[in-house]
């Protein structure tokens, strides 16, 4: 049976860590898309250089969670709180990697000019950034309504991504010479869409935390 005071303190620490990881992801995504819009190489390099912070935070979550399981032997919702913290931290770590992948696209385009100003990519990134914030908020408040909303927003992102693929495909037919850049922009759209999927996973984890049943929001 957990020692309540110590257990609650450590749970609070887990929440702080996951909040920090969420903030880091949202910031990295914003910066990565900005670096791409402006082809700002320095900004892209900074994002890549900061990624270790996210990995360290994830390790800290693993460390605290494992220690709680070993020393306090939690059950029921207490156990789910820890299982979910592991799962969310691993989603956030992947989201950080995907933001980093966008920054790498900026690096690969460093001697080019953009074929046209980016419109869909920043718009998708805005929505996904918001989804990430809401997924973390839904975790902090154990709010399943907000968790389900993240799943609904993800459908919108998926839809935008499909439109973007079609548009880029059509563009490439007329401008074969821009093929490499079109491929990279397509990949960027894919990275953002994947970040949205991970935010949706976090929503699923929150529903599992509250109800004990894992729903499929990622359809």
């Amino acid at each position: 049976m957990p020692n309540r005071k110590e257990f609650d303190q450590s749970l609070g620490e887990l929440r702080r860590l996951l909040t920090a990881m969420g903030d880091h992801v949202v910031h990295a995504l914003e910066e990565a898309v900005l670096s791409l819009q402006q082809l700002n190489i320095e900004q892209a390099k900074k994002i890549i250089g900061n990624d270790h912070t996210l990995n360290e935070l994830e390790e800290k979550v693993m460390e605290i969670g494992s220690r709680l399981i070993v020393t306090q032997q939690p059950v029921a919702k207490d156990l789910r709180r820890i299982i979910v913290a592991f799962k969310i931290s691993s989603d956030l770590e992947r989201m950080g990697d995907l933001a980093l992948d966008i920054a790498k696209v900026t690096l690969r385009l460093q001697d080019s000019t953009l074929i046209q100003p980016l419109v869909d990519i920043p718009r998708m990134a805005d929505i996904v950034g918001q989804m990430t914030k809401e997924s973390i908020q839904s975790y902090l408040d154990e709010n399943t309504d907000l968790a389900y909303k993240v799943g609904v927003d993800d459908d919108q992102v998926d839809h935008m991504y499909s439109g973007m693929i079609r548009e880029l495909h059509n563009y490439m037919i007329d401008h074969a010479v821009d093929g490499p850049q079109v491929m990279l922009l397509n990949l960027t759209g894919r990275y953002i869409e994947r970040i949205g999927d991970h935010a949706t996973n976090i929503g699923e984890s929150v529903v599992y935390l509250v109800t004990g049943v894992r729903p499929d929001l990622n359809r």
Binding site: M1, P2, N3, F7, Q73, V75, A76, K77, D78
Partner: protein
């Protein structure tokens, strides 16, 4: 699995104090059922009603039904001696008789009229094998039971209960006075025994209930708050009071 024990609308009073309130509970045959809950919640009291150990406490009054294998054990023609043979019990403190290991196990059957040496030998060996003690004591059956370690004594008490060929074994915190290794042995033994017996245990060790029982009933203030499959109880209890108790929020 069908219910071997059926408790219906059971109320129990010690003088004016109501210790059990409207208990309804089915206990499955050949399974381990654990009773958990804070001190004074009624779990040991209910356990003791299952072989009428409460009869010995003056001022006890019982209403309701306790059926074992379809007959009311509080009915008129019940022989309590026979009942206690059918429903064996193991207590918190190992309590072997100050006699030899052999005599501890043979005592009950002899009392019930088994005279043949060969038959008694067989009962002693079978019971000691079933309680996982045989290999450790087979060469020392004449030694005093009190020379055994606490864990061995407890397994001897289990053998003594099994010698009566019960259907049901009640365990009242049977490992709480034992070291972790002896506890583990008894737990393994309990899992082995459920193939042939129905086991009902009271435990203060919540994780023991989670580890070995199939069904768990959570008691609070003389009531059964919740009773369900053990994995369900410890992963997703339906009553918030159960969640609070197993998460250490009170008790």
């Amino acid at each position: 699995m069908s219910a071997i024990i059926r408790v219906e609308q059971l109320n129990l009073y010690y003088e004016k104090h109501q210790a059990l309130k409207h208990i309804n509970l089915n206990i499955k045959e050949k399974a381990i059922t654990a009773f958990i809950g804070p001190s004074g919640c009624g779990k040991s009291t209910l356990l003791r009603t299952l072989n009428r150990m409460n009869d010995m406490i003056p001022g006890t009054r019982i209403e309701g039904v306790v059926e074992i294998s379809g007959s009311n054990i509080y009915g008129e023609n019940v022989e309590v001696e026979n009942l206690r043979q059918q429903v064996g019990m193991v207590f918190q403190q190992p309590n072997p008789f100050p006699k030899s290991i052999y005599e501890n196990v043979a005592y009950g059957p002899r009392l019930h009229g088994v005279k043949s040496k060969k038959e008694l030998d067989e009962i002693v060996e079978t019971s000691l094998r079933q309680s996982a003690l045989w290999e450790e004591v087979k060469d020392y059956l004449k030694r005093s039971a009190l020379s055994l370690s606490g864990g061995q004594q407890q397994r001897l008490c289990i053998a003594r209960a099994l010698a009566g060929q019960p259907d049901i074994l009640l365990m009242d915190e049977a490992t709480s006075a034992l070291d972790p290794i002896s506890t583990l042995k008894i737990e393994e033994l309990t899992r082995e025994l459920k193939k042939d017996y129905t086991i009902v245990m009271v435990t203060h060790n919540m994780h023991q209930a989670a580890r070995i029982s199939d069904q768990t009933a959570f008691f609070l203030n003389g009531e059964v708050v919740e009773s369900s499959d053990t994995p369900e109880m410890f992963s997703n209890p339906t009553d918030s009071r159960t969640e609070d108790y197993i998460s250490g929020r009170f008790g």
